[in-house]
C-alpha cells in the first residue's frame, strides 16, 4: 500500500477512534449534572469535530484514489520520514528523558546532565570527535548549573552526588 494512503488511513483511524471513544465516555461515564448546559458540552463538540474530520479525510482519500491522484494529498515539499530513525530517536530521547529525570532526582542534576548529554551526543551527532565528547557535556552541565542552580535556585530533593 502507498505510504500516503497508509498515513491518511492512520490519521482517519486516530480521529474516528478518539471521537467515538469520547462519545462513548460521555454516554456511559460519570458526568456531574449541570443546570441547562451539561459540563460535557465542549468535549462533545470537540468529539463531533474529530469524527467529522476523520470522515472528511476518508472521503477525500476515497475520491482521490478513484481519480488516481493520491499524490495530490501529500503536502507540497513534504518528505517521507525515516520511521526507523524517528523510532530510535524517540526511544533514546523520550525514554532516556524518563531515566535522566529519575537520575536528576536521585543522583544529582549536574552529574546526570553531563552523562545524558554525552550519551545523546555519542549516539546522535554525526562525526563526533572524542575531544568534542569530552568538552561539550561538561560545558552543558556548567550552563545548567549556572542557569538553574545559581540563577533561579531550582528546588530538587537531596541527591547522592552533585
Amino acid at each position: 500500500m502507498n505510504r500516503t494512503i497508509t498515513k491518511e488511513l492512520l490519521s482517519a483511524a486516530l480521529m474516528l477512534g478518539l471521537g467515538i471513544a469520547g462519545l462513548i465516555h460521555i454516554q456511559y461515564g460519570a458526568w456531574r449534572p449541570a443546570p441547562l448546559v451539561p459540563s460535557y458540552i465542549m468535549p462533545q463538540t470537540a468529539y463531533h469535530f474529530l469524527i467529522g474530520g476523520g470522515l472528511w479525510v476518508l472521503t477525500t482519500l476515497g475520491l482521490f484514489t478513484l481519480r488516481q491522484r493520491v499524490s495530490a494529498l501529500e503536502r507540497p515539499g513534504a518528505k517521507d520520514q525515516d520511521l526507523v530513525a524517528i523510532g530510535l530517536s524517540s526511544a533514546l530521547m523520550l525514554g532516556g528523558a524518563v531515566v535522566y529525570f529519575l537520575l536528576v532526582l536521585n543522583v544529582g542534576l549536574v552529574v546526570s546532565t553531563v552523562a545524558f548529554n554525552a550519551v545523546l551526543i555519542a549516539v546522535l551527532a554525526p562525526n563526533v570527535s572524542f575531544k568534542g565528547l569530552l568538552i561539550v557535556p561538561p560545558l552543558v552541565g556548567l550552563a545548567v548549573w549556572l542557569l538553574f542552580v545559581q540563577m533561579i535556585s531550582v528546588t530538587l530533593p537531596p541527591a547522592l552526588l552533585f
Binding site: 498515513k7 449541570a34 441547562l36 468535549p43 474529530l50 530517536s89 540563577m151
Partner: protein, 504 residues
C-alpha cells in the same frame, strides 16, 4: 497620555531591558541561522525563565529573540539554500541563486533591510490598530466572543498548511487537552481518568514546550542519526569552494540597487501585515504571496528565481511583516493567531496578564513599553545585522549534533523549574510524543496550541450563551456581529483556497 508615554519609555528604555533586547536579538539570529532550530523553539524554552524576570525585561528578551529569529532564518537560506525557518523558504529561491552568482553580501544586506522595513511597518499597524479594536471588543458579549473563538479556530485550522480536516481535528484535540481538570462551573473533575494529579489541568509550559520544542528536537535527532547532516556539511564545503577568489569589495549593495528593491519591499510589507493579522495564515504563506505579487508587478520579472534582489526583498519583507500584525488578534481579542503569538500569550499569562481587550486597559504602561520595544528591537536587529553580517554565515555552520541534546536537556530542566513539578515533566514528555506522532501523520501543530489556549475561554462563552438562550443552540446566531464572524470565516477560507489553487 504624555504621562503614560513617559512611564512606558522609562520602562522600555531601562538599561536592563535594552540589554535583554540585545541579548534576545543575538540569540534569535544565532538559533534562526541554524537549520532545525528556530526563534519559536527558543521562546518556548525560555518561558520558564519569564517567571523570574520583570515583565518589561522578559518582553524585551522574547521580542528580541522573535525579531532576530525572523532575520536569522534568511542567513542559512541565502548562504546554503537551507531555510533556517519555514518562513525563509521563499527567501532561499533567489537568495541562494544570488549567492551562487557570487553576490552573497548584496543578498544578505537586501534581506536585512527589507526584513527591518517590513517588520517596522507591521509594528506600526499593530500599534495604531490594536487599541481601537480592543475598545470594540470590550462591547462584546458571550455570543460574539464564542463566534470570534470559532472564527479563529476555523480559520487557523483551515489555513494551516492547507489541510482543513486535519487542522479542525487537531484543534479539537487541543480543546480536549484544555478540558482536562476541573469543570469551571460544577467543580467536578473531567477527563482526569482517576488521576488526582490532573485535577488542576495541564500546565501551559509543558504542553507548549512538548508540542513545539520536544517534538522538533526528536525529529531533528532522527535526522542527525541518519547522518543527513553529514551530507549537508559536505554540500556546504562544496559550495564554499565555489566562492574561491570572491571579492567582497565588488559585492556591496549600492544605493541604486537598494532603491530598486523598495517597491518589492513595500509589496511584501503590505501583504505580510495583512496575512499576519489573520489567524493561521503564517509567515510562509505571506512570504510566498509577497514573492508572487512582487514578481507580477516587477519590470524585471524574468530575473525572479535567478538571484533577483527584488525577489529576496519581497519574500523577506513579507515574512518579517507578519511580526507585528500577528499580535493584533492577541491584543484586541485574546486570540493568538500564530504559534509565536500563542507563545507570547502564554508569557503574558505567566506574568499575570490576561491576553484580550482588558490587556491594554489593565496593563497600559507595560503594553506601551512593549510597543516601544518592538520598534527598538528592529533598530537593534538592523545595527547588529549590519555589524555582524560577515560572521553570521559561520553561525549556521554550528553542528546541530551538539546543540540538539543541550536544547533537549534545557527543555526538561526548564519545565521542572517553572513549577518545581514532576508531573509537568511527564506532561512535557507526553506532549512531545504526541507532537512527534502528529507530525509523522502530517497534522499541523499550530491549531492544537490555539485550541489548547482558547479552549477554556470558548467553553465559558459557549456555556454562558447557552444559559442565556435556555439551552437552545440557535442563540449562537442571534447576534449580527456573530453572524458576521461566521460569514467572514467561510469567505476567507474560500478566498485562500482559490488563491492557493491559482498558485498551484
Amino acid at each position: 497620555m504624555l504621562d503614560l508615554v513617559i512611564e512606558a519609555s522609562a520602562l522600555a528604555f531601562h538599561p536592563y531591558v535594552l540589554m535583554y533586547v540585545f541579548l534576545g536579538v543575538l540569540l534569535g539570529i544565532t538559533l534562526g541561522a541554524i537549520p532545525g532550530l528556530s526563534g519559536d523553539m527558543a521562546i518556548a524554552l525560555l518561558l520558564p525563565f519569564v517567571f523570574f524576570l520583570e515583565p518589561a525585561m522578559a518582553m524585551g528578551l522574547l521580542v528580541g529573540i522573535y525579531k532576530g529569529g525572523l532575520f536569522g532564518g534568511s542567513i542559512a537560506a541565502i548562504s546554503f539554500g537551507v531555510p533556517g525557518t519555514p518562513g525563509a523558504a521563499a527567501t532561499s529561491i533567489d537568495g541562494y541563486q544570488a549567492k551562487l552568482k557570487g553576490t552573497p553580501s548584496k543578498a544578505l544586506h537586501t534581506a536585512l533591510y527589507s526584513s527591518v522595513i517590513g517588520d517596522t511597518t507591521s509594528d506600526l499597524v499593530l500599534i495604531f490598530i490594536a487599541v481601537p479594536l480592543a475598545a470594540v471588543a470590550l462591547t462584546f458579549g458571550p455570543i460574539e466572543f464564542f463566534a470570534l473563538y470559532a472564527f479563529s479556530l476555523i480559520l487557523i485550522a483551515a489555513l494551516s498548511q492547507g489541510m482543513v480536516a486535519k487542522g479542525v481535528a487537531v484543534a479539537a484535540i487541543g480543546v480536549l487537552l484544555a478540558m482536562i481538570g476541573r469543570d469551571p462551573i460544577t467543580g467536578a473533575s473531567r477527563l482526569t481518568f482517576g488521576m488526582p494529579e490532573l485535577s488542576g489541568g495541564l500546565s501551559l509550559i509543558p504542553v507548549l514546550i512538548g508540542i513545539f520544542a520536544i517534538s522538533e528536537v526528536v525529529i531533528q535527532g532522527a535526522k542527525l542519526w541518519r547522518r543527513k547532516v553529514d551530507k549537508l556539511m559536505d554540500d556546504v564545503a562544496e559550495q564554499a569552494s565555489l566562492l574561491q577568489g570572491y571579492d567582497i569589495s565588488k559585492d556591496r549593495l549600492t544605493w541604486a540597487e537598494f532603491k530598486s528593491t523598495l517597491k518589492a519591499t513595500y509589496i511584501g510589507a503590505a501583504v505580510g501585515t495583512f496575512i499576519g493579522a489573520l489567524p493561521g495564515a503564517g509567515q510562509s504563506l505571506a512570504a510566498f504571496m509577497s514573492y508572487g505579487l512582487a514578481q507580477r508587478f516587477s519590470r524585471r520579472s524574468e530575473e525572479f528565481g535567478k538571484g533577483s534582489l527584488e525577489g529576496i526583498a519581497s519574500a523577506e519583507s513579507g515574512n518579517s511583516a507578519t511580526a507585528g500584525s500577528t499580535f493584533i488578534p492577541l491584543f484586541a481579542f485574546g486570540i493568538p493567531g500564530s504559534a509565536t503569538a500563542a507563545l507570547f500569550g502564554a508569557a503574558f499569562i505567566l506574568m499575570g496578564m490576561t491576553p484580550g481587550p482588558s490587556l491594554l486597559t489593565d496593563n497600559t504602561a507595560i503594553i506601551y513599553a512593549l510597543f516601544f520595544t518592538l520598534i527598538f528591537a528592529n533598530l537593534v536587529n538592523l545595527v547588529l545585522g549590519k555589524i555582524l553580517l560577515p560572521y553570521y554565515s559561520r553561525i549556521a555552520m554550528i553542528q546541530p549534533g551538539f546543540m540538539i541534546p543541550a536544547v533537549f536537556i534545557l527543555a526538561i530542566v526548564g519545565t521542572y523549574a517553572a513549577n518545581n513539578s514532576v508531573v509537568d515533566v511527564w506532561v512535557l514528555l507526553f506532549a512531545g510524543a504526541l507532537g512527534v506522532t502528529l507530525r509523522l501523520m502530517g497534522f499541523p501543530l499550530a491549531p492544537l496550541v490555539l485550541g489548547f489556549i482558547i479552549g477554556p475561554g470558548a467553553e465559558r462563552a459557549l456555556r454562558q450563551s447557552m444559559i442565556m438562550g435556555g439551552g437552545d443552540w440557535t442563540v449562537l446566531i442571534t447576534s449580527p456581529i456573530a453572524i458576521g464572524f461566521y460569514v467572514a470565516a467561510f469567505a476567507l477560507i474560500l478566498l485562500f483556497t482559490l488563491a492557493l489553487r491559482a498558485k498551484q
